[in-house]
């Protein structure tokens, strides 16, 4: 468990912690094992395994239709898995109905009950648990304070903005202190500024309450801002799981490399391998080096990836610089204030993007159609095998 709880503790700060039955304190709150969901021949979720640690905020990041919601719905109990297991606290919950799973959920669509006030909505989970009225009122006040909407209790959901409605939905999901909170693109319908504001709110609440959260999004910036770890979904499978930095610096495959941040991809094939490095011959004939992280045979076609900000531009005559180098012409030149982005077309017709920050020493801007060399260090290169 995360031990950095100096601040708030749980919602029920006044209630002794021993009031709940002792749980097994495994490091992983949720374990998904070989989970699949098929619709006919179509595999919406295809053999997914992952662990969510206690107190962690994990995002499911992936393009539309990659199986994020389907996975989440199976955890919530709204969908039945075709195969696989879902364990919470080491117990299989597949036969437990949603209302008994003690999981909270915030949906993308606004789902506050329109015929109830904000306070009634937030108190609903306690009402169905037959908690005494005065106690409900007290806890509603406390959780409304947590989301900074304490004066909105008597309003109807229709009298709230979209952002406020989602904060109330969050309060409704938090009031019964679920062991796991699921959020399925809760901010998808909001504009960027409001989204960022509520993201901060969610982070604050996550730290304050130490609640375990799975947060679904297809917005990589949102994932980077919120998560302890990110699970990248691709076509019903998990492409990679890790901290943001890890995914960015060490993408496990071309999909993750392309999906998270910007990247350049050049095609080539392995020439030789020695001393932990591969020599790769690119399509335009140039030879580059790459760290040998994977065991690949000579002649293996590969995709060579590096980030635009890891490369520099040089005059063709300059010979200093990094190990790897391709030559081409500038076809695009975008000034972005703190940096400039250039697009360079190589002899093979492939495009390479270079992002050049304007630091204290770098002031030069390049002109269109200029013949130029792109140079980058070998240890920033990732190579992924391409199926022959």
């Amino acid at each position: 468990m995360n031990s950095s709880t100096g601040s708030g503790g749980t919602l029920d700060a006044g209630v002794p912690q021993g009031s709940q039955p002792a749980r097994s304190m495994a490091a992983n709150l949720l374990s998904i094992r070989n989970l699949s969901k098929h619709y006919g021949d179509f595999r919406a979720v295809d053999n997914v395994s992952l662990d969510v640690r206690r107190g962690e905020l994990m995002t499911f990041l992936g393009p539309s239709g990659s199986g994020k919601t389907t996975t989440l719905n199976m955890v919530a109990g709204f969908d039945t898995p075709t195969a696989g297991e879902i364990l919470i606290d080491n117990q299989d919950i597949s036969r437990v109905i949603p209302s008994r799973r003690n999981i909270g959920m915030v949906f993308q669509r606004y789902t506050l009950f329109p015929h109830m006030t904000v306070a009634e909505n937030v108190g609903f989970p306690l009402m169905v648990r037959r908690v005494a009225k005065p106690q409900i009122a007290e806890r509603v006040t406390r959780v409304l304070k947590l989301i900074r909407l304490e004066s909105f209790g008597d309003r109807r959901p229709s009298q709230l903005s979209g952002g406020q409605q989602q904060r109330v939905a969050l309060a409704r999901a938090l009031i019964y202190e679920p062991r796991l909170l699921l959020m399925d693109e809760p901010l998808g319908a909001l504009d960027k500024r409001l989204r960022e504001e509520i993201q901060l709110e969610i982070r604050r609440i996550h730290h304050q309450l130490d609640v375990t959260i799975i947060y679904v999004t297809h917005d990589q910036e949102e994932a980077l801002r919120l998560s302890d770890r990110i699970a990248v979904f691709d076509n019903g499978r998990i492409a990679q799981i890790g901290a943001a930095r890890e995914l960015y610096d060490q993408p496990a495959n071309a999909f993750v490399g392309a999906f998270l941040g910007n990247s350049n991809f050049l095609t080539g094939k392995i020439a030789t391998a020695n001393g932990g490095r591969y020599q790769v011959t690119l399509k335009d004939g140039s030879s580059i080096e790459a760290p040998a992280r994977l065991a690949l045979a000579p002649e293996q076609p590969v995709s060579v990836m590096f980030r635009p900000e890891k490369a520099i531009l040089q005059s063709v005559s300059e010979t200093s610089g990094f190990t790897n180098r391709v030559v081409g012409r500038i076809t695009e030149n975008v000034f972005l204030g703190d940096s400039a982005t250039y697009e360079v077309r190589t002899a093979s017709g492939e495009l390479v993007t270079v992002k050049q920050p304007f630091g204290p020493s770098e002031t030069k801007t390049r002109t269109m159609d200029e013949e130029i060399a792109v140079s980058w260090p070998h240890d920033c290169v990732h190579i992924f095998p391409i199926d022959r």
């Binding site: 109905i97 949603p98 209302s99 003690n102 009950f113 609903f124 169905v128 409704r172 019964y176």
Partner: protein
């Protein structure tokens, strides 16, 4: 908008006039009959030579009239209650169900709206005779129910259709059992449909005459049947009073439903 009334010039007065005629035409019986019911003349003269409450007095003192009013009220309430009790589960099945022939079943439930009432009446009459039910309250209720049920199912079904099932899901993930979700979330959300269905059912039964004539015996009649029977023997202004009562109840219920709609907004 291209076709606004302002743009039509003087032509719009023609539209106003036609609308006024239509309103007058529809309003005529609703206004004319109540006026006649206060008519002092024995012969339904118009314009009335004087005013009286005599016909109402007769309506509310003669045993046969009171009995028929009371029967109508009982039948209408029973029809309303049974229509809602049956329509709720039927609407759930028709909206939420996933099965073969769902559209066919939908069409089937609407069939009483298409089949001529006389045919339904003849069929029911046959059954009623065979089972010895003619002239019982039960016979009135089940025959009216045939007409009322489609309206109840359709109005409940359409509000269930627009109800987002995500509300139910969030209620359940919040810890509500299926029954709790239904009681606290689904039913309150489709309440307008239930109320509309109940009003329809009540009004359909309240002024239904064809089926009721077939089911009636001299000892058990509903108000519309009593009006019809009386009409054939003598043209007493009590009929106007009884008709006004029918109209008054219908207008009252429509008014209530309008009021409910207003307060919900």
């Amino acid at each position: 908008m291209l076709l606004t009334l302002q743009r039509m010039g003087p032509g719009r007065y023609v539209l106003y006039a036609i609308t006024a005629i239509a309103v007058f035409y529809l309003l005529l019986p609703i206004v004319f009959i109540p006026i006649l019911s206060f008519n002092a003349s024995r012969w339904l003269e118009f314009p009335p030579p004087g005013w009286t409450l005599r016909w109402y007095e007769q309506l509310f003192t003669e045993e046969q009239w009171i009995g028929s009013i009371w029967n109508s009220v009982k039948v209408a309430f029973l029809v309303t209650a049974s229509a809602i009790v049956l329509a709720l589960p039927a609407a759930f099945v028709l909206v939420r169900g996933k099965f073969l022939g769902k559209t066919a079943l939908n069409a089937f439930f609407a069939s009483p709206m298409i089949v001529p009432v006389v045919i339904i009446a003849v069929a029911l009459y046959g059954f009623a005779l065979q089972w010895g039910m003619a002239g019982t309250l039960f016979a009135f209720v089940i025959s009216h129910l045939i007409l009322a049920l489609p309206f109840a199912i359709i109005s409940i079904g359409s509000s269930l259709q627009t109800f987002d099932i995500a509300y139910e899901k969030s209620a359940m993930i919040c810890g509500a059992s299926r029954v709790q979700a239904l009681l606290h979330v689904t039913l309150p959300s489709i309440r307008p449909g239930i109320i509309a269905g109940a009003l329809f059912a009540f009004l359909i039964s309240w002024d239904e005459v064809v089926l009721a004539i077939f089911m009636a015996t001299p000892s058990l009649q509903t108000l519309p049947v009593k009006i019809w029977v009386t009409l054939r023997t003598d043209l007493s202004p009590v009929i106007a009073a009884a008709s006004s009562l029918l109209i008054g109840m219908s207008v009252l219920l429509l008014g209530i439903s309008a009021l409910i709609k207003r307060t919900r907004k």
